[in-house]
């Protein structure tokens, strides 16, 4: 039986998370602008293949393909009526691919809306939509929730609290996405990285960190800074470079070896968990596996 995730995270070697799902599915033919969740019910074999690639690459954690699985976001693709089925199937597919070899993280992203007065989102509707998604994922026996790519601390907290009250026994990890400014690292809404992650930790997240947006150099700098400021275990999931446009489409320029070089610096800084975000695939996760095994022999 696997050690509980909240205990395992405290030990070495650092936990290896998986890489991107969305950009990988686009590489497999997901049409531009279509939500990956649309494929959960129609192209389960492709989603399973991506999870299997990461499992074989040595990831310790597989994240379910349910990042956009909240009702508000699903509505954009007219998938809101299938909210329950999509989230349930997302967990099933991840488990089929993992075969018990990895932890299963129930992926949850933001609604994509802004709160009033800047947008139309209300605290009540955010709370309701996250409670619904958390309830479905929890019902499917995930090992923990992974709330990713939050850009507004307020929404991240509502999502975190929704998970805590819906399924108090399931641990919650939260990563936010930060920009580098002359004054430090902030979300686009102006939440400072340290303050935001400390607040999430104070509200019960067992693992906090950063994913997406920043290029490697910025993420290395942020990780080194966060380990000195945050006591809670840290998860870092960078993109495979800044996307470039080529005649063949959008390309993330960092190949696995280059990705591993910046990963080495981040791992050396003492983070507890590491994985990839947009543009990363099984080659990147394999390179990280080699790196972690070498560093923590």
């Amino acid at each position: 039986m696997k050690e509980q995730i909240a205990d395992r995270i405290l030990h070495t070697p650092p936990l290896l998370f998986d890489g991107a799902i969305g950009s990988r599915l686009i590489g497999m033919g997901l049409p531009a602008g279509q939500a990956p969740e649309a494929w959960i019910l129609s192209q389960a074999d492709k989603i399973r293949q991506v999870h299997e690639e990461y499992t074989q690459a040595g990831a310790n954690v597989i994240t379910t393909c349910s990042f956009g699985g909240n009702r508000i976001r699903l509505k954009k693709g007219s998938l809101d009526r299938k909210c329950d089925a999509i989230n349930r199937r997302a967990v099933e597919i991840a488990k089929e691919a993992s075969q018990g070899k990895t932890y299963i993280a129930g992926g949850m992203g933001p609604t994509g809306e802004f709160f009033q007065p800047h947008g139309l989102l209300t605290e009540e509707s955010a709370d309701k939509t996250f409670i619904e998604q958390a309830g479905i994922l929890a019902d499917c026996s995930i090992d923990f929730f992974l709330l990713e790519t939050h850009y507004d601390l307020k929404e991240a907290l509502i999502s975190l609290n929704a998970c805590r009250k819906t399924a108090p026994s399931i641990p919650v990890a939260v990563t936010m996405t930060f920009n580098s400014t002359p004054n430090g690292f902030f979300t686009v809404m102006g939440d400072s990285a340290v303050e935001a992650l400390k607040t999430l930790s104070d509200n019960g997240a067992f693992l906090v960190g950063s994913n997406c947006t920043l290029e490697a150099e910025g993420m290395v700098k942020l990780a080194k800074y966060l380990v000195t400021e945050i006591d809670t275990p840290l998860l870092i999931q960078p993109n495979a470079g800044t996307p470039e446009i080529t005649p063949d489409g959008v390309v993330y320029p960092q190949k696995a070896d280059e990705f591993a070089q910046s990963a080495q610096q981040i791992l050396s800084s003492g983070v507890h968990a590491f994985g990839g975000c947009c543009g990363s695939d099984a080659t990147h996760i394999s390179a990280l596996r080699v790196l972690i095994d070498k560093n923590f022999r």
Binding site: G22, S23, I26, A32, G33, Q34, K76, G112, E113, F114, P117, H118, N179, T181, P182, N183, F186, T187, V188, M189, G190, P243, I245, P247, G249, V250, C278
Partner: protein, 213 residues
């Protein structure tokens, strides 16, 4: 900066739509030429944009400034003026974030600044279907079609839309401008757009340049 202009500047940067509206009303009541009187408002909203670029402002502040700017625009160029507003108009614009993409902020700023510079803007919102862009272009025959895409996964739809305009034979009647975080001038060239701008103020400069060309 003169005292009244300083006051306008502060109101926009504070994102105080209420006070900004009152200042705009004073200008209108005094019988000033609205186009000339708009300059300090434009200077202020550009300053807000610069502060955002420098990391001094974040989205909430920038959006409040844009709302204050819009409040002034509504007073100084009320849409009910109809024909007189059209006479003031530099040109007509249909704008929107492309299908599959729900990001509105950048596009809203571009619309606000284009309006501020005297363009008549029809904002179709976010996640706008390609068919709708085509339909609106056929119906309104705008000078510009301004397409935003904030995701690497949705920018390809900018190309699809241009292809559709070509198929319908209406591509030559409109200038297509593209923007958004992942978009570059190389991309604009590759998909056959008329221009690309990296930020809202340069989108305005580009539109003016193309109109004068």
């Amino acid at each position: 900066m003169s005292k009244p202009n300083q006051e306008i500047h502060n109101c926009i940067l504070d994102g105080d739509a209420g006070k900004t509206k009152i200042l705009a009303e004073k200008i209108v009541n005094a019988g000033s030429n609205p186009t000339e009187a708009l300059q300090p408002f434009i200077t202020a909203i550009r300053h807000a944009g610069d502060l955002f670029d420098q990391g001094e402002f974040f989205l909430p502040q920038l959006l409040l400034s844009a709302k204050a700017m819009q409040a002034a625009m509504d007073v100084m160029f009320p849409s009910s003026e109809g024909k007189s507003a059209a006479r003031l108009s530099r040109g007509t614009v249909i704008a929107g974030t492309i299908q599959g993409d729900i990001h509105e902020i950048g596009k809203n700023l571009v619309c606000a600044l284009l309006s501020a510079h005297g363009f008549q803007v029809v904002d179709l919102g976010a996640d706008v279907a390609l068919d709708r862009f085509v339909q609106e272009t056929e119906q309104h025959k705008p000078d510009f079609l301004v397409l935003s895409a904030l995701l690497t996964t949705t920018m390809i739809n900018q190309k699809h839309l241009i292809d559709q305009l070509n198929d319908k034979g209406i591509r030559d009647g409109v200038k297509v401008l593209v923007g958004g975080a992942p978009v570059t001038s190389d991309w604009a060239e590759e998909i056959g757009a008329d221009g690309y701008a990296p930020d809202a103020s340069r989108a305005v400069a580009l539109a003016i340049k193309l109109l004068d060309a």
